[in-house]
Symmetry: C2
Amino acid sequence: VSVVVLYNGPGDAPAEIDAWRGYLKACDPGIDFRVWPDTGPLAEIDYCLAWMSKPGDLARYPNLKAIFWLGAGVDHLLKDRELPRHVPIVRLVDPGLTAGMTEYVLQHVLRYHLRQPEFDAFQRQGLWRKLDIPLAKDRRVGLMGLGVLGRDAAAKLVDLGFAVAAWSASPKTMADVACFHGDEQLMAFLGRTEILVCLLPLTPATAGIINARTLAALPRGACVINAARGGHVVDADLVAALDRGHIAHATLDVFTEEPLPVEHAFWRHPQITLTPHVASQTIAETASQVVIEGLKAVRAGRLPANVVDLQKGY
Amino acid sequence: VSVVVLYNGPGDAPAEIDAWRGYLKACDPGIDFRVWPDTGPLAEIDYCLAWMSKPGDLARYPNLKAIFWLGAGVDHLLKDRELPRHVPIVRLVDPGLTAGMTEYVLQHVLRYHLRQPEFDAFQRQGLWRKLDIPLAKDRRVGLMGLGVLGRDAAAKLVDLGFAVAAWSASPKTMADVACFHGDEQLMAFLGRTEILVCLLPLTPATAGIINARTLAALPRGACVINAARGGHVVDADLVAALDRGHIAHATLDVFTEEPLPVEHAFWRHPQITLTPHVASQTIAETASQVVIEGLKAVRAGRLPANVVDLQKGY
């Protein structure tokens, strides 16, 4: 019998907790599924399915065999200096999460491509005015990050015919995508990008990567979509670039502080569309299947897929 | 030498006219390309590339061999009682036009699927509030019309994993799409549709098809996207369904009268997003290639593709 605890899960709604219990027990009736804070003695816990833990929380389980993080990005988790680093930490790479992110990216890329913010402004003014819209092949979309999420979004954008490029820290390749990498190719990538999408992991190397210098490297009128982490953006630099019209519009799903403080300038900026960190939500139906595969691997003595590289930070 | 006249083309911008001339002459330098009103004697004209002609206009060309209509829908053209019906009338089925329509449909389906209008309202209120978003497989999109445009949009929606159904006047089939047809299956189709997309041709049979009765057949909270013709919608019925909250939101690109009159209720309705008939614009680069193929066919004595069936009206 394995004892699994769901710690502060994103599905803190009772229905979502029941769904996790149901899916895990359907796969292995021997699983003893417990929900924090009703964990029983912490020494009994074998596996922790964790989300938004506070520093030190996970160190309190002395006999953990693995941690399954219920999100794609582990930057929050890795800030925990007491994190048990001797067990595999598995981040969530889940088809449901990936599809949700791709849907979000497609919605906002299409919105900018089809010039919807301008049409929205015309509607508010009662103005019937057509605008030219280029063919997708003439619209240059640039993705920062070419991991699982970046690749899926890139593939769907390529399917729609967009001129897609991607930038990543280390060299990567993908069919029909112009691939750039490293500091020395960042400016060239930005210079050809009309719609920038950030899907990078947040690491010391990528923190603040959307700043005055990189925003200035985008062509005038470019749009920015950030669905990765708030820490990728230097907020004041983005607002300044929007205010002087160099950046036409930005869509932001993530923020340095969440919930975004009520007094933050982003809330009421006319060129910003914001959503409350919903671009990609963990859904028990698909995420539980991924966790079950990971549990099987660990129990069979294998290393599960998507174990975090503590050195790289993702 | 064939004499081709561009009549009131949608590309009435000089650059667009030059593009048409350039593409046609690159294909056949023998083409004598003229632009209305500088047509010379009308008896010299062999082919008319027409757009938004007025009744009687096309009857004035006595020696026409074919009419190439530079749009997908010919309802406007067929209202012309003096239309020369003895020559092939070819409607535009153009990859650029089709892709543009699919982009528009995807943008607005994704916007409703991802509940963006609700998040927009939260942003205006300074409210950080997450909402559940179902997996695409649990989101039921329904397309009215399964011609070239409907099939392309359906295929892309299927690629994204949506639960797609389609309704058409006559029986049709498509892989991974639940197909409904005819009056007797219309209510069943509507009853399972959360996001309705109209891409029908406008004919006497489809005029006013989005009305009080059909809107009431949609589940409460459904959204409507009309990118076909304004005549498909009974405007007052749509406004009433929005006002009582049965329909949550509508996106409209086409209107009974265009430009939409300034006093029309659609302009300022908070649940309506409107665009000025731009969902699918004719672009010389791709449309000219289709016209060139059609010209080749007619000159070789063959019937070109996409000749309008005057009986069916599309």
